[in-house]
């Protein structure tokens, strides 16, 4: 399961699946409402949310501009604290390194806390291939793992599942025999996973933010699973996208505060945990051996490009939670583990246009995402930049569309042509017009009239009315 999701289906098929999935749409819609409300409430409570966003943007810009410095500092500190650091250029390099660590430790059972980066590189498959048992410990991720289903949201991965489906999965895969009450389901998961935690020899976590000055890895959770993963197994591996870093603890404060508020409207989540790697002498909890894997996997290409600010993303999903397109099609339709507006921006950057060419168009450019982003990434503008690359620079769009746009340019830059066609529009559309309405239009209008009517162009253009009025005025004088 790489960055791609349901790649056996085309974009159109995935969209249709999404639109026809009533439960998912209901679930997504109510989740969006709740999460959006939470974020707005949290912002209102602060009173100066815009200042917070500006500060977040300042910190992220500075950090990415000096990413080499901070990554260097981070790695020095992790080493000083007794950890190993591996810089991985590709997914393959990261997986190979982690597989090696697991093999060397003769690891049988790997317990993981939620990590989107590990999804991005298909780490679970890589580890399963060498015979390790991998257990996802985030409740949502565990449900998906049992059901062999990809995440559909970067914060609430199992958003598309309902309780009955979850009950069925637990029953089929784990012999669960109780009701579909969320509390009972969660308690069952707690009991099952507790055993896994205590038996695991390797723990793998992601990283929300690394603190460069101390070499500390910070994880933000509500369940407490990341704390368990980092406290119990003897060997621990943390994997981070190379941009997930802050200069000092003081910036950690700001970004964590932005993350938890923007993601779920919480002032802080239940557990924010920062650990510096191996346990100290006499310390019993914490790993004996610690590895940090820092992953590029296409990110460095984004630096220095017009998309650099996409690397400011702190994975809060605020843009996903306000996106009306996401609401109707769900996460899987994007065909990427990173869905929604931020997914539509970064997926083509990380994995190329070839298989994700539709994503930049899966937006009405309504800018709700840009407005919601806690670090002010101009998401809708970046979607336009993608379109510009696809259309203008790489000329990947259909020839007919390119001809139409060239025609548009000609039309809109030649007032005489514009005026003539404006006058002609009514006549041109006459064959399809009835009672001043077009219900089944020709060409591209067909896609419009599938769902709604189009008014026929007015009897008189504005400019002819204006001309006539000016004439009458002169006449009156």
């Amino acid at each position: 399961m790489s960055i791609k999701v349901h790649e056996e289906l085309s974009y159109k098929e995935r969209v249709t699946d999404g639109v026809e999935n009533d439960f998912m749409r209901q679930a997504v819609s109510s989740a969006q409402e709740r999460l959006k409300k939470g974020r707005l409430q949290a912002a209102e409570e602060l009173g100066d949310w815009e200042d917070w966003r500006s500060l977040g943007e300042e910190i992220r810009s500075h950090t990415i501009e000096h990413l080499d410095f901070y990554l260097h500092q981070l790695s020095e500190q992790v080493e000083k604290n007794g950890g190993h650091v591996f810089f991985a250029q590709t997914a393959e390099e990261a997986n190979d390194y982690i597989k090696n660590v697991v093999k060397k430790k003769d690891g049988k059972k790997v317990v993981k806390s939620k990590s989107m980066v590990s999804e991005e590189i298909s780490l679970n498959e890589a580890l399963t291939d060498i015979g390790a048992e991998v257990v996802e410990s985030d409740l949502g991720e565990w449900i998906l793992q049992l059901d062999d289903d990809p995440p559909s949201h970067i914060v609430a991965p199992a958003l598309h599942k309902d309780r009955e489906g979850i009950r069925q999965t637990f029953a089929d895969k784990k012999g669960y025999d109780q009701t579909n009450k969320p509390e009972e389901l969660a308690l069952f998961a707690r009991e099952q996973l507790r055993k896994d935690f205590l038996a695991a020899d390797i723990g793998i976590t992601g990283c929300n933010f690394a603190v460069a000055e101390s070499g500390a890895i910070t994880l933000v959770t509500n369940e407490g699973n990341a704390r368990l993963v980092s406290a119990i197994p003897e060997t621990q591996i943390a994997i981070m996208g190379m941009e997930r870093i802050v200069p000092t603890w003081e910036e950690l404060d700001i970004l964590v505060s932005l993350l938890t508020r923007a993601a779920v409207g919480q002032k802080l989540t239940s557990y924010i945990t920062s650990f510096t790697g191996t346990r100290l002498e006499n310390e019993i909890d914490g790993p004996e051996e610690f590895h940090l894997v820092i992953l590029d996997n296409g990110r460095s290409k984004i630096i220095g490009s017009e998309f650099q600010s996409a690397l400011h993303c702190i994975r809060c999903a605020a843009c996903i939670n306000v996106c009306p397109v996401y609401r109707h099609i769900g996460g899987h339709a994007y065909g990427s583990i990173y869905p929604g507006p931020i997914g539509a921006v970064i997926t083509p950057l990380l994995d190329g246009y070839e298989e994700h060419e539709e994503l930049p168009y899966a937006s009405t450019l309504c800018a709700a995402c840009t407005e919601a982003c806690p670090v002010k990434i101009p998401l809708h503008e970046q979607l336009i930049r993608h379109r510009e690359i696809i259309a203008d620079r790489q000329k990947r769009t259909p020839k007919l569309e390119r001809m139409m746009m060239a025609g548009f340019a000609q039309w809109a830059s030649t007032p005489a042509a514009y005026q003539l066609s404006a006058k002609m529009a009514r006549t041109a559309l006459k064959p399809w017009s009835k009672d001043e309405t077009i219900t089944n239009g020709p060409g591209p209008l067909k896609d419009w009239t599938v769902n709604r009517d189009l008014p026929a162009p007015g009897k008189q253009t504005f400019r002819s009315w204006y001309k006539q009025r000016e004439k009458e005025k002169k006449h009156d004088n």
């Binding site: 500060l55 080493e79 190993h84 810089f87 368990l228 000092t248 003081e250 802080l268 019993i284 820092i294």
Partner: protein, 234 residues
């Protein structure tokens, strides 16, 4: 300890930034915006305690306030409410100052089980902490805004004490209360600057564990404690 592939990796990054790799001399700028410094800026301790109490409701945490003299009694009330017979606690100099040592001894005399985390006996620690009804620690820095206790974990205040038992109790000395995370991270930042060292694990704990992964229903108590209580001590 090893660092692998760093040079080429950082060269890639720097090349895209249009320059050579920089490994020293970068200073954080003085940020233009500082909204975090304004939160509860002029609050006195009493006001901060009020905020903390209010926030406890949002985070499903039992809030109590007591004095050193009455701490035994308050603690007993909480333990009774949680129907708890076994406690795992961290060695802490404050245990004696707050009279907890004598209280734990009393509990053990009464046939209950109060266990102090050992720095050497891993097996016993695990066994105890996994089955304990309550984990108990002091809060090192308490954040009023979010209702958070900050634990500077070490060999005494072990990570799992506040995590594996069914309930968690934090003893909050009044003087540990600050407005928000800002003050805590500033302190930790200073530790780093002064000693080039911070605790091996810093845990910001805000109430019991919870999840909303099933149909966005809030479930309290998933992997960590099911209940949490904060006892503010004057």
């Amino acid at each position: 300890m090893t660092i692998s592939n760093r040079d080429t990796f950082l060269q890639h990054v720097a090349a895209n930034l249009g320059r050579d790799v920089i490994v020293e001399g970068v200073k954080r700028p003085d940020w233009k915006h500082k909204p975090h410094l304004n939160v509860f800026k002029n609050h006195n301790v009493e006001q901060l305690i009020d905020e903390l109490e209010k926030q406890c409701e949002n985070i499903h945490t039992d809030f109590r306030r007591t004095t050193k003299e009455n701490l035994h009694q308050t603690l007993q009330e909480v333990l009774d409410a949680y129907d708890a017979d076994s406690i795992v606690y961290a060695y802490d100099e404050r245990n004696e100052v707050y009279g907890l040592d004598s209280y734990f001894a009393e509990l053990n005399n009464d046939g209950k089980d109060a266990y102090e985390w050992s720095t050497s006996n891993k097996e016993k620690n695990r066994q105890k902490v996994e089955r304990a009804d309550v984990g108990l620690t002091f809060s090192d820095i308490t954040l009023a805004e979010s209702g958070t206790v900050t634990l500077l974990n070490d060999e005494y205040n072990a990570r799992t004490i506040s995590l594996l038992p069914e309930s968690y109790i934090a003893i909050i000395p009044k003087e540990t209360i600050v407005p928000r995370m800002t003050q805590a991270t500033t302190m930790i930042h200073q530790m780093q600057q002064e000693n080039n060292h911070v605790p091996s694990c810093v845990s910001f704990v805000t109430g019991p564990s919870n999840s909303a992964d099933i149909e966005m229903n809030l479930i309290v108590g998933v992997h960590g404690p099911v209940r949490a209580a904060y006892i503010v001590v004057d």
